[in-house]
């Protein structure tokens, strides 16, 4: 029962987060998800301090931050990654100071930041998929470098990332956002989205099964499996992509052998799971 909901929940994020991750990667704003999640958590704490419902405060603070973030031009001379990192550090510190004046806040903020995939029931899965569909629809299509375009991107991103972190925890969300996209990254550009999604989905199934089989904590096990598969496929793709420059027939053979090995691994999940363990 728990096994099935965990698997379905990881599959949902495996479908939507890698493509968003590609958008995030090409804009070089990887810290944006940590920043958004932390802002929401701090908003929640602020809500408790001011005696207004935590969820409303979290949504309000995140919305304000998103409107401000969209002000930043995509071609700004500022290192955007540093801006996002700064926002994260600021929000986290504001949260800590807020908590220090709240007697019972600590557990709640931690609960918000570190949701657990084990806690997601079918209702939660439904909620997660609705947010995922809306968020992906808003953030995935290419947008012009206008205020409206950037706003649509950031709103879509926060609509999917904040509820996802609340539901399944920051570790899984961060890993699914960056690892698959990074793995299929080639020649300084994003690779095909289907590759990123496929490897994420394979990692979900394999990771959850390994965790259940060996009685291991699911979040961390899934992330470890995802890492291994991502690195493996990343290496394979490196050889294929490197092919175009060096016309060595040996490398070509090796690369094609690797891809066939890779596709069989994708088809036969149990095998890949034993390999990964």
């Amino acid at each position: 029962m728990i096994l099935i909901t965990v698997m379905v929940a990881t599959l949902i994020i495996a479908v939507c987060l890698p493509v968003l991750g590609q958008r995030v990667l090409e804009r070089r704003v990887v810290f944006v998800d940590l920043a958004l999640a932390q802002l929401a958590a701090t908003g929640y704490a602020l809500g408790m301090a001011l005696h207004i419902p935590g969820m409303i405060a979290a949504a309000g603070i995140t919305a304000v931050a998103v409107f401000l973030m969209a002000l930043m031009d995509e071609n700004t001379a500022l290192p955007k990654e540093a801006v996002m990192g700064g926002v994260y550090a600021f929000a986290a510190s504001a949260g800590v100071v807020l908590l220090s004046v709240l007697p019972y806040g600590e557990g709640q903020l931690m609960g918000l930041l570190f949701g657990s995939i084990l806690g997601v029931d079918w209702m939660g899965i439904l909620r997660l998929s609705i947010f995922a569909v809306i968020g992906t629809a808003m953030a995935w299509p290419d947008h012009g470098n206008t205020y409206g375009g950037r706003l649509r991107f950031y709103i879509g991103l926060s609509l999917i990332i904040v509820p996802a972190i609340h539901a399944i925890g920051v570790l899984l969300v961060f890993a699914y956002l960056v690892m698959p996209a990074l793995s299929v990254w080639r020649h300084g550009k994003n690779g095909p989205a289907w590759q990123a999604i496929t490897l994420a989905a394979v990692a979900s199934v394999a990771g959850v099964l390994i965790s259940d089989l060996f009685d291991l904590p699911p979040s961390a096990t899934v992330v470890l499996t995802l890492t291994m598969i991502a690195v493996l496929i990343g290496i394979v793709i490196y050889f294929i992509a490197g092919d175009e420059k060096s016309a060595g027939s040996k490398e070509k053979k090796k690369a094609s052998a690797d891809t066939t090995a890779n596709t069989t691994a994708e088809n036969e999940t149990p095998e890949s799971s034993t390999e990964a363990s």
């Binding site: 096994l3 557990g107 084990l118 904590p217």
Partner: protein, 312 residues
């Protein structure tokens, strides 16, 4: 001091007032300083200390009710209090192991150095809870029975610690030794009288319980309740899907009455388990606000009331 000599005019009256004020200024800080400063790591220990020390000591508690005492980030003011403390009361058994040693090194107060008479820990007074009814040593193998610090959840342990603490306070502040010992007697009497009442209310529970962490073990033993298992497979580790599915099966097989979770632990996982298995989930405190013996006893009142109410 009282130099009020009759019929000597307004000037001498003024002199009296000045003398009086001067005496106050000199005596006041000395008096305030003379009160031993006692620092407790968790609220329950502060309450026991206050019950024993009464108006003769000044109690500071580092963590607050609702906080997980395994993790603690001291504020400058708290480090300052520690540097002036005469007695430090910690739970021991690993509760403060991650932060107290380094904090003590930082404040460099020789009076509360580890092993000195100003360093009091629960380990000085009581023994760890061991393996409980309903648990096999196998199911506990990842939960070291020697490492459970939540001893104040057993009121009998509260009495033992209060008695030891009265002796220790007498060493730190010999002038009031008699007061401390007398208050320990009162404390012991009040708690002993309340235990049957608590046990009676807790007996409303129909069947064994599953808890998130091992925080309630002492309470469970004291109230003669059966423990069926923990949600955490070991302290601080996320349970596996298999572990949770096993627990769901056990709820039906063993007719589990309730799941208990600490206020600061992962609500979603415990809620999920309760929902899937159709058993009631209670958030029970391991510390409550309130001063002295009333505060300490209030914690048990609150817990057993909740158990009784939700066992109907």
């Amino acid at each position: 001091m009282h130099r009020s000599k009759s019929n000597k005019g307004p000037f001498s009256q003024l002199q009296t007032v000045i003398w009086g004020l001067l005496t106050l200024v000199i005596i006041m800080p000395v008096n305030a300083h003379a009160k031993p400063i006692v620092v407790a790591t968790v609220p329950a220990l502060g309450q026991i200390a206050q019950a024993i020390g009464g108006p003769n000591i000044k109690v500071h508690v580092l963590t607050r009710a609702g906080q997980d005492a395994h993790v603690f980030y001291p504020k400058p003011g708290q480090a300052d209090v520690l540097s002036r403390a005469d007695l430090l009361i910690s739970a021991g058994f690993g509760l403060e192991g991650q932060w107290l040693p380094s904090l003590l090194k930082l404040v460099k107060n020789p009076k509360i150095r580890l092993g000195s008479k100003g360093f009091f820990t629960g380990e000085d007074a009581i023994e760890a809870v061991g393996v409980l009814r309903g648990m096999s040593s196998k199911s506990l193998k990842k939960w070291s029975p020697e490492e459970n610090p939540f001893w104040w959840m057993d009121p009998e342990n509260g009495i033992k610690v209060a008695t030891m603490l009265a002796l220790r306070l007498g060493e730190v502040d010999p002038v009031h030794e008699g007061d401390y010992l007398a208050r320990a007697e009162d404390f012991s009497w009040l708690i002993t009288r309340a235990i049957p009442r608590w046990k009676q209310k807790a007996a409303a529970l129909k069947g064994p319980v599953i808890t998130y962490h091992n925080s309630y073990n002492y309470f469970i033993k004291a109230m003669d309740i059966e423990l069926a298992g923990f949600i955490e497979p070991m302290p601080g580790i996320e349970p596996s899907t298999r572990h949770l599915d096993t627990l769901i099966r056990q709820v039906k097989e063993k007719r589990i009455a309730m799941i208990w979770v600490e206020p600061y632990h992962l609500g979603p996982v415990a809620r999920r388990l309760a929902k899937e298995s159709g058993v009631r989930l209670l958030v029970l405190p391991v510390a409550t606000d309130g001063r002295g013996v009333d505060g300490y006893m209030g914690m048990f009142d609150k817990i057993v009331l909740k158990i009784e109410r939700w066992s109907q």
